[in-house]
Amino acid sequence: MALNGQPRVELAASDREVVIEVEELTKTFGPVPVLNGIDLKIRRSEVVCIIGPSGSGKSTLLRCLAFLDPYTGGRVSIEGQLLGYKQQGERRLMQGHRELAKVRRNVGMVFQHFNLWPHMTALENVALALRVTRKLKADQAEREAREALSKVGLGDKAGNYPSQLSGGQQQRVAIARALAMKPHVILFDEPTSALDPELVGEVLGVMRQLAVEGMTMAIVTHEMGFAAQMADTVVFMDRGVILEQGSPDEIFKNPRNDRLKQFLDTWRTRSF
């Protein structure tokens, strides 16, 4: 992505450290295969947008990167640590919640439906994990929570309950909540899909700002404009596999895969 015509990060992309590494990932829901061998590297400060038709497995992939859906085969590593499983001889056992929390410590997640806790104010939503996970004192947690809310432009809404906020504001609180944990990477699962069209912009604006500041992000999205403008890498998925991946120019201007062409045609027709 370019800022004033300058590349955002001077380092060649391929030299940057890998934050999330996905190797031969498979996932089945019972007998139904959903992911059929995914390989993907997400590097420091990279913005990866995952696009594809409904049911292509893109949300499942993202949830596997967070181990909210346990993957069936292959591996996901977060900064070199195996996510979700521990190897015991031949067998692979599920990690306990403490081990899992440790590997996931630097992974933030933003959901389609915000998933704020409705009985807590915006400030309490952001501050809770600062208290109980980062073990900050109450005043320090409140200070950092207020900072995070200001960062997403909601410094004046700290005392509001989620029901008193618009969808766009709720999603920004959810971003602040993830941000306050100082994650190394944030996963966004269709962050604007549940929003009224006029509220999409404010959320994308916050995400744009994070990208400019160098946050590593993996974003499942239907916002092709955002992907074209902000992504370093666009990944096109269909039927549980990655069919094409490349720079926004390669994907949007010069697609090679037929199904990607078809997908982009459908999208272009629909947006007129």
Binding site: F111, W117, A129, T133
Partner: protein
């Protein structure tokens, strides 16, 4: 006028009887609540034996008549060497009974707390016990307040059954007054009115609790 005359003449007995009913029911509901909550989490546990145990417990206490349960507790426990006063046996039976019904109420409430809220908390590294305490249970209490109020009213009425093991609660007080006055109609009418008044108070408390817990509520 006979009615008011009896009420006035036996006011102390009636007050003690009503207070006994209120205390026994209140204690049963409150002590049955943590137990019911624990069984609710047991009913949705990933651990099969725990789930099974809780389901059997729930089905037994929900599926047998309260009168049978009270008699069982009253006669069974002394036979295994536990000497209980009638009041203790009564409260114990009511606790065990209401915990099964409350477990079902809480279980229903649990499924109404969106799973995504728990996932968000997990992603923030919040421990399972803290997720329950800070996120699930506070919302649960709001969701189940109307049903718990109902259960409180049921228990208050059903507590009249413990008169069979000679606990002098409100109904048994009435029976004693009848045997002294030979005025069953007036006395039982009076008893009914006292039950209604107590239940109206409970219903009112329930509505207040609901309003209080609703602040901020709804996503």
């Amino acid at each position: 006028m006979e009615f008011l005359h009896i009420a006035w003449a036996y006011k102390e007995m009636l007050l003690v009887g009503a207070a006994t009913t209120a205390v026994i029911s209140g204690a049963s509901i409150l002590l049955g609540m943590p137990l019911g909550l624990a069984f609710a989490f047991g009913l949705v546990s990933h651990n099969r034996p725990i789930r099974l145990f809780c389901a059997v417990y729930r089905s037994f206490w929900r599926g047998t008549p309260l009168l049978v349960q009270i008699l069982l507790v009253f006669y069974l426990l002394p036979s295994i060497g536990l000497d209980l006063s009638p009041v203790t046996a009564a409260v114990l039976a009511l606790i065990l009974n209401t915990s099964a019904f409350q477990a079902e109420i809480f279980r229903g409430g649990l499924s109404a707390v969106p799973k995504g809220q728990v996932e968000a908390a997990q992603m923030l590294g919040i421990a399972p016990i803290t997720i329950r305490r800070r996120i699930v249970i506070p919302q649960l209490l709001r969701l189940v307040t109307p049903a718990i109020t109902n259960e409180f009213i049921s228990i208050l009425k059903n507590s009249s059954i413990i008169s069979v093991i000679s606990v002098t609660e409100l109904l048994r007080t009435g029976q004693q007054i009848v045997s002294a006055t030979y005025r069953p109609l007036e006395v039982y009418g009076l008893i009914a009115i006292i039950y209604i008044v107590m239940n109206l108070v409970i219903a009112q408390l329930g509505r207040r609790a609901e309003a209080r817990l609703a602040r901020g509520a709804r996503a």
